[in-house]
Symmetry: C2
């Protein structure tokens, strides 16, 4: 690393405590203003950085810690990386930057200006590694950009980001208290808070963070089956009658995946048309038919915030049926669960306290970095196998804190810390403000386009932030309804989306649903988005779609 | 943030480019020595830090980006966090620090010197958040410490760590090329390299990174079942005969969990005694018995590196049987797969190229940060549900790169980047050196204690880094073998382990296995460990166990 020779370093150069050899405890006290900063592990003098002249072109991974004399290059390398990352963070929030710099797979595979994805036998220099990191970000998608609306998960929460950096540095595993004491307790306390928000008495129950909503939903089917037919665990599906799972057509496809994976077959799913909104009669009807044919209804999934429409099933009505027929009630709140944090919107999940299990992904509506998904409910026994090498009963601490045997996983990533830290930093009211703001913004979009020329809504009165609409280019506005118009309209959203991605200005999702041809699905979960970004999106759709 | 007022900043103060307002492009060219550093996204002047005076006690999460004027506090906050983390990294490799500072769950729950885990409605200041982060690390376990031998995953790889920081900052999801173009291609290329190391012709086949070895093993059962009985996907287990999975007693418990979860029941597992090493006759015998009873053998799991003993099943012999009876052969190389990178040790997996599927966890023997696990084999069709909102066929790019429909997950964490970056930085030869060094170190331990007074080996001639042994305290050395001695010996390892954790000096695992009472399982996967650390462990066991 070369020295810039900048001798005119300003007085404030050392403000952060970076790059200092000998800052005194007194100075640290001034920095910190808190006794814990002094009493903690990191307080001694030698911990601060020393400087060396570093040329990364002659340094390799083998020169970093634990190599002898590896401390200097390690710190310099990490700081250089942080420079790359903080620059990226700033750009992410800068509307003058693109959301993405699109290239086709073959272009990236052929190598972009020296960005070579191929792996080789010999090591590359740390300089090249840093270049590779810059390029990785350059050709990626800025999911935290204020104009990225493509996915239910968007935004870049700074506290959550810092939490993830710490999690990576701690590099541990959730299966035992032994090697993750703090994280295991944080998970326990946070799950209890979530159960309190759901409304279960005293927050009682159980739960676990899983690798995403699909796995959380899979847990729900497993625990339902285990409750009613525990012998399936040892004997397989032959120990149970022909079980039926109910869910709506609009529910997430992971329920279907779960049916297939768990040996029930996704044919065991009965899909009620649309969302459950008007489906009480169909359910009852199905129940009668099924019971007569020897099938046994087991489980009902009520969706709280469907993926495409953001629709909320009427949980109380469904709970009544479940109670009557002794069915397991699961609420898939992967997308809508966050609304429980809002006094204004939580009524949309009324009845959730009657559920047997709930999926809730803080990484969606609450802006927690990926991944962070919880399954809440009683897991005990469902997956336990009591592996002797991990879950020794003769440990010196209370082994009830070893959570691993509840999971279908063995090792489990630490997904809790970033969420815990965000909750600490924002408070419950911070999440509430986030939710309310995003829903307000969607309402702004809905109001803006519902009567605007060239727009047609897929449904009225959005319940969540999902606003689904067709943009009708001028060429189609006077065309009579019919197959030709439908076919043309079906091609509009993909074309606009492709141009959007090529220009890199914004991103929004589209899809067909049932009989509806391709339409845009707008969602807001990014705190960085404002009305001006909504306006920008609409302008962009019109600019790109005007001549189609 | 206060200014320290250090005016004597040395010329090299700005070496890193941190804290600079106006470094010129020319200077950056000197720093980088590479045109990509100039042509990349991060090259403009304003991207460098500016300084402000920051008092974190008056700042909150709401003051960070995307807040107006949030850029300054955001950067300052992230840099302060990096100071905490780099200090932790340095300490991790410092043998004068403890591996852990043990506290019981109730102690941490009651609150340690102001470290309060409870969540509340109101936000906390960023100063408190930083203190919480320091405390989180203080009361955790340093899994990268040279004397942490407790788990198959240990160590703290600096390149991998930097890769995880970048991954968190990019905060995206693996399901589509659309939002993770670079990561999706990296995954594809890296999986191909892994298949080449396995020895499949031209590296052909498929695969995916999953949330850990247990899920990877679950995939193997699912894809085997799908290949032979595809109708199970729609119709459930009633579409298949009574299927049997074979695995050894010593195999990982996740095979059992998979049987239970997938609706086959873990009773569908036939556990051959011990490892498979001498089990060819038992398998054949079982096959005959089963076929007569109307069961259909489906799947054999051969373990390459068992969890406790590190034993390798003889894959070729098992493959012969699988070919003869048309069974799916899965190799669970979660722990042992890394040995494929070593020319000296890869022969232990001879025959792996005949497997239908392979689990391989780079986060274990190869030192990649948690989590990083691959399942390699043909996945196509097994889990696909073609969700319209994600996998639109009318995208502008080649949608074969959308990988999400292969997974049992929907969203999927980016586990590839850190691994890809480490491979770039170390080269294949760097992983080989890592593996060889860890195996040499285990051999050193084995040679040291095999004939040492007070030690008894659980098995001779370790195949992996697992060295399993009893430490016999002087009080038991002359006691005749029998139930009393067994009971006393059973309590030795837990007692020593408890004292180890209380003193925080080192950590090693123990467990019983079959008829063997509690013994220590020593494993090495941490590049930081040296012979002196092995010596330290043995000294520590003798110091703590001498008077038992």
């Amino acid at each position: 690393m070369e020295v810039f020779g900048d001798n005119s370093c300003p007085p404030s150069c050392n403000t952060l405590g970076f790059l200092q050899k000998n800052n005194s405890l007194e100075e640290k006290g001034r920095l910190a203003g808190h006794k814990n900063l002094l009493s903690c592990d990191n307080s001694d003098r030698d911990a601060r950085f020393r400087l060396t002249e570093t040329d990364f072109s002659n340094l390799f991974a083998r020169d970093l810690l634990p190599a002898k004399n590896g401390e200097e290059p390690t710190i310099q390398f990490l700081l250089e990386m942080v420079d790359i990352l903080t620059t990226y963070v700033k750009k992410t929030f800068d509307r003058s930057t693109k959301v993405l710099d699109f290239h086709h797979p073959h272009q990236l595979l052929e190598g972009m200006e020296g960005f070579n994805l191929e792996l080789s036998d010999q090591p590359e220099s740390l300089e090249q590694i840093l270049v590779d990191c810059r390029d990785t970000l350059k050709y990626g998608v800025r999911t935290g950009h204020p104009r990225f609306f493509n996915q239910l998960s968007s935004g870049l929460d700074i506290i959550g980001l810092a939490g993830e950096w710490l999690t990576s540095t701690a590099n541990t595993n959730m299966f035992t208290y032994e090697i993750a004491p703090v994280f295991v307790l944080m998970e326990q306390l946070t799950l209890k808070k979530m159960r309190e928000m759901i409304g279960w008495p005293n927050g009682e129950g159980d739960g676990i963070f899983s690798p995403g909503g699909a796995i959380s939903n899979m847990y729900s089917v497993m625990i339902a089956r285990y409750k009613y037919y525990p012998e399936v665990k040892t004997k397989g599906m032959s120990a149970a009658p022909r079980l039926v799972l109910f869910t709506s057509e609009h529910s997430h496809y992971s329920i279907k995946k779960a049916g297939a994976a768990l040996g029930q077959g996704y044919g065991s799913l009965f899909l009620t048309p649309g969302s459950f909104v008007s489906s009480r009669p169909p359910i009852l009807q199905w129940l009668c038919v099924l019971l007569l044919q020897g099938y046994v209804p087991l489980f009902v999934n009520a969706t709280a915030g469907s993926t495409v429409y953001g629709a909320f099933d009427p949980i109380n009505e469904i709970a009544d049926i479940c109670e009557k027929y002794n069915l397991w009630l699961h609420v898939d709140g992967a997308w809508g669960g966050g609304l429980l944090m809002s006094r204004k919107h939580r009524h949309k999940l009324n009845g959730v306290e009657r559920a047997n299990s709930v999926t809730w992904n803080p990484h969606k509506m609450m802006g927690v970095p990926l991944q962070c998904s919880a399954i809440l409910g009683i897991l005990a026994g469902c997956n336990s196998m009591c592996a002797g090498y991990l879950f020794q009963p003769d440990k010196q601490y209370d082994v009830n804190y070893d959570t691993g045997d509840k999971a279908i996983q063995c090792g489990r990533h630490v997904d809790i810390f970033k969420f815990w830290l965000m909750w600490k930093a924002k408070g419950t009211i911070g999440f509430e403000q986030h939710i309310d703001r995003c829903l307000d913004l969607s309402q702004y979009l809905y109001n803006k386009i519902k009567n605007r020329e060239g727009y047609q809504m897929v449904f009225d009165g959005p319940q969540h932030t999902n606003v689904c609409f067709w943009y009708i280019p001028p060429s189609l506005r006077d065309m009579p309804d019919g197959e030709e118009r439908r076919e043309k309209l079906h091609r509009v959203a993909p074309k606009i989306k492709a141009m959007m991605m090529e220009s890199g200005t914004t991103m929004v999702g589209y899809q067909p649903q049932g009989k509806n041809v391709n339409f845009f699905r707008m969602v807001v979960s990014n705190l960085a988005a404002t009305q001006s970004d909504i306006d920008f999106l609409i302008d962009e759709i019109e600019r790109l779609g005007r001549d189609l």
